[in-house]
């Protein structure tokens, strides 16, 4: 496969995984939790590096999962102490992120880890850092990680589809039916963490938020069915990734930035033209027909 093809494949995998997870993020009203986790995952990666002295897939995954769970747990805890949810998120992620940045800037800053990379992603380098898989041959490491995470996320979402739906829509009823709501919350936070860390290499800490939230929000404007929303969200994610790549080529600029920008373009189109919820439709038909 050519260099460009690998990049497009990797970016599409980011779009797929993020699109899938993003739908439940916005339906569970946790969009800003993804912002928090995408920042704190940095601390997880740094700590994993400090322990193992290498930036490898499995160590990074474990570090990210722990950081993600720690974030979710701390936010929940502060909120239970009567601090507003929003403020709890703000306190936790800025603090953990600051610690991560300081660790990088003071002690471990080297060729393997730098803040710039963490924030912007380095999808351009991905095709060169390969590993050899049986049957398939030489494959970029980041792509393998992303494919793995996507499959895991897909299986978990499909297997427990109705439980995800119910705990997102009505956690109180779910609890009374005996579904472990809190446990599922942490499982979901784990999914968000591994998706974030796998996408990290490609798009960086902040742009992954765009990939998580925006395609799902766009999809939310087009449909009233959860299954359709999931498919649309994944499709929008992939389209944004591909469009973003070509915008970046055209303007010779950051690929991850362009992908985030492309999700915005798709959203803008949905925002204006969506038949049910778009502003154009509201303008044409100002009263909602029941």
């Amino acid at each position: 496969m050519s260099y460009a093809a690998w990049i497009i494949l990797t970016a599409s995998l980011v779009g797929l995984s993020c699109g899938l997870i993003g739908v439940f993020l916005i339906l569970r009203k946790m969009a800003m939790m993804s912002d928090a986790i995408s920042h704190t995952v940095l601390l997880g990666i740094v700590c994993a590096y400090l322990v193992t002295k290498e930036v490898s897939g499995p160590a990074m995954l474990v570090g990210a999962i722990l950081a993600g769970l720690l974030t979710a747990f701390l936010v929940q805890w502060l909120h239970s102490l009567d601090i507003q949810q929003e403020a709890s998120i703000g306190i936790v992620f800025t603090t953990l992120f600051a610690i991560g940045v300081i660790l990088i800037a003071t002690s471990v800053g080297n060729a393997h880890l730098d803040v710039q990379h963490a924030l912007m992603g380095e999808i351009t380098f991905i095709p060169w850092n390969t590993t050899v898989l049986p049957l398939i041959g030489s494959v970029p490491k980041a792509t393998v990680l992303l494919a793995f995470v996507f499959v895991v996320a897909l299986i978990v979402i499909i297997a427990f589809y109705k439980e995800w739906k119910l705990t997102s829509f009505d956690p109180a009823l779910a609890a009374s039916l005996g579904i472990p709501v809190l446990f599922m919350h942490y499982v979901f936070m784990t999914l968000v963490s591994i998706t974030t860390v796998a996408s990290f290499d490609a798009v960086g800490a902040i742009m992954v938020v765009a990939m998580l939230i925006t395609p799902a929000s766009s999809a939310y404007l087009w449909t009233d069915r959860l299954s359709v929303m999931l498919l649309l969200s994944c499709a929008f994610g992939v389209i944004s990734a591909v469009i973003g790549y070509f915008i970046a080529l055209w303007l010779d600029t950051s690929i991850s930035g362009s992908m985030a920008f492309a999700t915005g373009i798709l959203f803008l189109i949905s925002f204006i033209f969506s038949p049910k919820h778009g502003i154009l439709a509201k303008y044409v038909r100002p009263t909602k027909a029941y």
Partner: protein, 254 residues
């Protein structure tokens, strides 16, 4: 089922951080009764239900359902949360919401079958909502949403129901439909506890009343418990009373 104690609560208390919101809660519920839980705002009505169903931690006391623990009796218990507790913009339709009541029976890793779907349809029909099965739930009126919630409770086929203000903000037609359903449940030997706001209808709707203000003020058959003295005891100085043609008219003084 009737005359058997289905719920027994002893010395229950619950706190919300510094404040004790419920204390010394003690009552036994017999099967086949329709109970109104009545009390002023902040009396802990919702908290009581949540504490009983282990959604809110309890400080002291014990609760038994059908003579056993909540975990073991879970399948026999149905819960209808407040309508405002969910986001009605969720991408799903009325039938699907009703089906959610069956998720406990369907079990992990399995999909709803045709049988489950039929059951959900029947429940919708019972609430007069069959025409709206495919409607996105945000496009239903408040009363219709509440009826969907009731239908969801019906498919659970529980023996004991907890309902948090099912009559709040619904139209007259829905109120009649809901009350008829609740009375049918009672006739079939089920037990229903309903958090209720409107003092004027208590006597018509419920055969038992639980007057609550942080603790149980009184509990028993409506005719005995729902008296002027008891009510003013429950509501403290917040109420002004008038008796008009044997009907209580109550004005809340904020």
């Amino acid at each position: 089922m009737e005359d058997e104690v289905v719920l027994s609560v002893e010395n229950l208390s619950a706190s919300y951080r510094k404040n004790i919101v419920l204390h010394d809660i003690q009552f036994n519920v017999r099967g086949g009764t329709l109970i109104g839980i009545v009390g002023p705002n902040g009396a802990g009505k919702s908290t009581l239900i949540k504490t009983l169903l282990e959604m809110h931690p309890r400080l002291t006391g014990s609760v038994q359902f059908f003579g056993t623990s909540f975990k073991k009796a879970k399948k026999k218990i149905g819960y209808v949360p407040q309508r405002g507790s969910v986001d009605w913009d969720f991408p799903t339709n009325a039938l699907d919401v009703v089906m959610m009541g069956l998720y406990g029976q369907i079990g992990w890793l399995k999909r709803p079958s045709r049988k489950h779907k039929r059951k959900a349809c029947e429940a919708l029909e019972k609430m007069g909502m069959e025409a709206y099965a495919d409607r996105q739930i945000s496009q239903l009126s408040g009363g219709q949403q509440q009826r969907v919630f009731l239908a969801r409770a019906l498919v659970q086929e529980a023996d004991l129901y907890f309902m948090d203000e099912p009559l709040a903000g619904v139209d007259a037609q829905t109120e009649r439909a809901i009350m008829q359903t609740l009375k049918e449940l009672k006739t079939n030997g089920k037990t229903v506890l309903v958090v209720h706001h409107d003092l004027q209808t208590v006597e018509d709707y419920f055969d038992h009343v639980l007057l609550l203000n942080r603790t149980v003020i009184d509990y028993g058959p409506t005719a005995r418990v729902f008296t002027k003295e008891n009510i003013s005891k429950t509501y403290g100085g917040q109420l002004r009373w008038m008796k008009e043609e044997s009907r209580h008219v109550v004005h809340s003084v904020e």
